[in-house]
């Protein structure tokens, strides 16, 4: 068969260009750090890359929601611990002491003053605000103190819920009236009774009501703190699986776009191979040039 000289040279230069672009492709991928540069490089991987990237974004979104939710819950827990200290130790003791009949009216008045102070402390805690100044026990009415001076609940009736993982909704807010209920009213009555002295009408009743009210308050507090604990535990568990999923999904994204180490190893050897092939076609060209009757 006749090999036209034009064709031979053309072939040879085309071969070299091709080899050159082959190594260029490998270099491009190496410097981009991934093999998937165009959707057509691997259409299935391109689809997967978008899907996994989206799944990853979602997982990270929930992870960030959880970390904020944990902060919120921890802050509530911290406040409730303070409430617990006031109610179980100080307040409970004083009311019991007031009822044992050993105090004079002056002592009772002093005690009344003390309990009044404790009530104010409690009210301050019930009207706690977070770092952004939002009242944390007011439900959706975050701009309103949960309780007014008298002790009436002024917050909303619904606690905030948030989706903390795919399909998992969690209550992240706590309603003030569910914890404090009528405690401020009862304490008001107790303070008034103590001020009036032990002979005043309804003295005993007021103290009994206060004692009962505090007991009920401690119960509710315990329940609320137990719930908080459970939720925080649930967050930990979700974080554990979430973090595993995030790691898995990052691997999946890297696999899809070909950014894993094995791919880079393949690319390096590919680029070396194409370099070799380029050298080979240069060698062929050099020899072809020599093979020419005009050089005789």
């Amino acid at each position: 068969m006749r090999l036209s000289t034009l064709y031979m040279y053309k072939q040879s230069s085309e071969a070299m260009t091709k080899r050159m672009s082959q190594s260029n492709e490998a270099y491009l991928r190496m410097s981009a750090g991934k093999t998937l540069l165009k959707a057509s490089d691997d259409p299935t991987a391109a689809t997967d890359a978008v899907k996994h990237q989206d799944a990853l974004a979602k997982l990270e979104m929930y992870s960030s929601v959880r970390s904020r939710a944990r902060g919120t819950l921890e802050f509530q827990d911290h406040i409730l611990n303070g409430v617990g200290n006031l109610m179980t130790t100080t307040l409970k003791e004083k009311i019991v002491a007031a009822g044992n009949g050993a105090y004079s009216n002056e002592d009772l008045q002093a005690l009344g003053e003390e309990i009044k102070g404790i009530r104010e402390n409690l009210l301050d805690l019930a009207n706690s605000r977070d770092s952004s100044g939002r009242y944390i026990f007011s439900g959706f009415n975050t701009d309103t103190p949960a309780f007014d001076e008298v002790g009436n609940y002024r917050g909303g009736n619904e606690a905030r819920k948030q989706t903390v993982a795919d399909g998992t909704e969690m209550q992240t807010g706590q309603l003030g009236d569910e914890i404090f209920d009528d405690i401020f009213m009862v304490l008001n009555d107790a303070v008034a009774a103590l001020m009036a002295g032990s002979e005043s009408a309804g003295f005993e009743d007021a103290l009994t009501a206060a004692s009962k009210g505090i007991d009920a308050g401690i119960d509710r507090l315990g329940k609320a703190q137990a719930e908080l604990g459970t939720r925080m535990q649930q967050l930990d568990a979700l974080d554990l699986t979430g973090n595993v999923l995030i790691t898995d999904t990052i691997v999946k994204v890297q696999d899809a776009i070909g950014a894993d180490t094995s791919m880079l190893v393949t690319l390096v050897s590919e680029s070396q191979m194409s370099e070799l092939a380029f050298n080979a076609s240069m060698f062929v060209y050099k020899n072809m040039q020599k093979m020419n009757l005009f050089n005789m």
């Binding site: 689809t47 990237q53 989706t163």
Partner: protein, 547 residues
């Protein structure tokens, strides 16, 4: 003696001619369109005598052009096939590149918006978190705009390329017609001039790169007739038939190509029937790849905007107002056909149920009494009989007809209810405080119930069985698949083209070494003939020397 001189003279002139032809080959051999030539050397005849036959020597009986009509036909066919794939691939590559960016795309911007909403849900009154959502809404709309603009840019560049291709086709056919005339004039002067034939073959190759053609060759004169794949003539004798480009009547953004017949009447080419050549590849890209990409992107923007607006309306802003539209979409309007006789405009089109709206090109026509709506596949779309008078209601949209109508029977409109959604989507709320995070029950600055409902849109099957992000992934997959397919077709077409080019070159191409050997051979031949002359002269001198 006379005979010997004649022999030598013939030999020398044949050798000169042969060296000339070889020289031609050597000097033109580096041109791709040159066909190798060779001198045919024949006997000059002779004289029969009683002592036997004495030849008169050699003569040049013609210059042969190495040419095989079949090989040329095959090469042209391969060229057409290859060019159609590269033409399509060049355009497709842009979408292909755009979709593979896993770090910056519609799906990523969408994920960012949802993440910002989730953060806001932890504290719906937080100013910075609100600002983040407000910004993300804009970034997402811009992301849609940018992708859609790139596709519109591709449509424009495809139009330009189609025009250029048609122009080139016209130039080739015009030159071929001129060449046919020249060949006709020269007919009768022996073999047709080889240089004109080389030129002819080059023109035919150029033409077949742009368009799939059928070539019929007149063996004697070398003239060719060229026809389109449907049999209509492009070049017939000295006449070239033109292709004309113009905006489509049905869609002014689309450049179409028409064939102009002998009476000057232009009729649009059937784009589905033009499959070969660069033009065929461009048509295919525009009608399939680009259409798919645009419709999918528009559909995502349309469904997302409507669904988010719907949910946002269920909520309350911090100011206590119901949520307004989060996103705005461009007004829907049908494109009136340029040939319409009436002056109606169908631009009062409302979405009645966005979930039923299809991303489809409807054909709406007036038959003189009634309006008929047809789908892209030609099916009749049933109209809602319960729709108020003066409206057309179907597939989730309602068109209010102009009143009074000036439509004339035969008037046509093209409508894609989602067209332009991705390019025209924009954030509608004016500030972060217009974002309605709160539900309508128990409203308050800390109410996040509507926001939580909006977050669920992320996992909703809004587009068929796909979520918004899945729809984007599927688009990337679809385009990637087409591009991959075209790439692999182009690779095998390139191999085929190489073989066909190889075949043609094996016959018509010039090998320098071969020509060098010929040169050597004919020099020997020349020397031999010269030697003959010398001998004859010596013999003649010998006779003269006798006194």
């Amino acid at each position: 003696m006379n005979n010997l001189f004649n022999l030598a003279r013939n030999g020398i002139s044949v050798a000169q001619a042969a060296i000339r032809v070889t020289g031609d080959n050597l000097t033109n051999g580096m041109s791709g369109n040159y066909s190798r030539r060779s001198l045919i050397i024949g006997e000059l005849g002779g004289m029969s005598t009683a002592q036997g036959f004495y030849g008169y020597g050699a003569r040049a009986s013609g210059v042969e052009r190495a040419y095989d009509a079949f090989a040329n036909n095959q090469l042209r066919d391969s060229l057409s096939g290859y060019a159609s794939f590269t033409g399509r691939m060049e355009q497709l590559a842009d979408i292909d590149n755009m979709l593979a960016d896993e770090a910056d795309n519609v799906s990523v911007s969408l994920g960012k918006l949802f993440k910002d909403m989730a953060t806001l849900s932890g504290d719906p009154a937080d100013g910075p978190a609100r600002a983040a959502v407000f910004t993300s809404l804009d970034v997402l709309a811009n992301r849609y705009n940018a992708s859609a603009k790139r596709l519109s840019g591709l449509e424009k560049s495809t139009n330009t390329q189609i025009e250029r291709s048609a122009k080139e086709i016209n130039s080739y056919t015009e030159q071929l017609a001129q060449l046919n005339k020249q060949l006709e004039r020269l007919q009768g002067n022996g073999a047709p001039p080889a240089d004109l034939l080389d030129q002819r073959d080059a023109l035919l190759e150029g033409l077949s790169e742009q368009l799939g053609i059928t070539v019929t060759e007149d063996q004697i004169s070398g003239r060719v007739s060229v026809t389109l794949s449907d049999g209509r003539p492009l070049v017939s004798g000295g006449t070239a038939y033109k292709l004309e480009t113009s905006p489509s009547d049905a869609d002014p953004n689309k450049m179409i190509v028409s064939y102009v017949d002998a009476n000057g009447k232009a009729s649009p080419l059937d784009e589905n029937a033009i499959t070969k050549g660069r033009l065929g590849g461009l048509f295919k890209f525009r009608n399939e790849d680009l259409t798919v990409a645009r419709q999918d992107l528009d559909q995502m923007a349309f469904m997302m905007a409507h669904r988010m607006n719907e949910q946002h309306g269920e909520g309350l802003t911090p100011g206590g107002d119901p949520g307004g539209d989060l996103f705005s979409l461009p007004d829907i309007h049908a494109i009136a056909n340029a040939k319409n006789k009436g002056g109606d405009a169908l631009d009062q089109i409302a979405v009645t149920n966005f979930k039923e709206v299809k991303s489809e090109n409807y054909d709406i026509s007036f038959d003189g009494a009634n309006w008929v709506v047809k789908g892209a596949d030609g099916r009749i779309v049933p109209l809602d009989p319960a729709a108020p008078a003066g409206t057309l209601k179907f597939d989730g949209i309602e068109i209010t007809l102009p009143n009074p109508s000036t439509a004339v029977a035969g008037d046509k409109f093209t409508l894609n209810p989602m067209a332009g959604a991705a390019e025209g989507i924009s954030r509608e709320i004016a500030n972060a405080q217009e974002f309605a995070a709160s539900g309508k029950k128990d409203p308050g600055p800390g109410n996040n119930t509507n926001l939580e409902e909006m977050l669920k849109i992320q996992s909703e099957a809004l587009i068929g069985n796909n979520t918004l992000s899945e729809a984007y992934a599927s688009l990337a997959g679809k385009i990637g698949e087409s591009a991959r397919e075209v790439k692999s077709y182009a690779t095998s077409a390139e191999g085929d083209l190489r073989t066909k080019y190889d075949d043609k070159q094996a016959l018509s191409g010039v090998n320098m070494d071969e020509e060098y050997i010929n040169l050597d051979m004919f020099r020997q031949y020349y020397n031999g003939s010269a030697q003959l002359l010398k001998t004859a002269t010596a013999m003649f001198d010998a006779l003269l020397a006798i006194r």
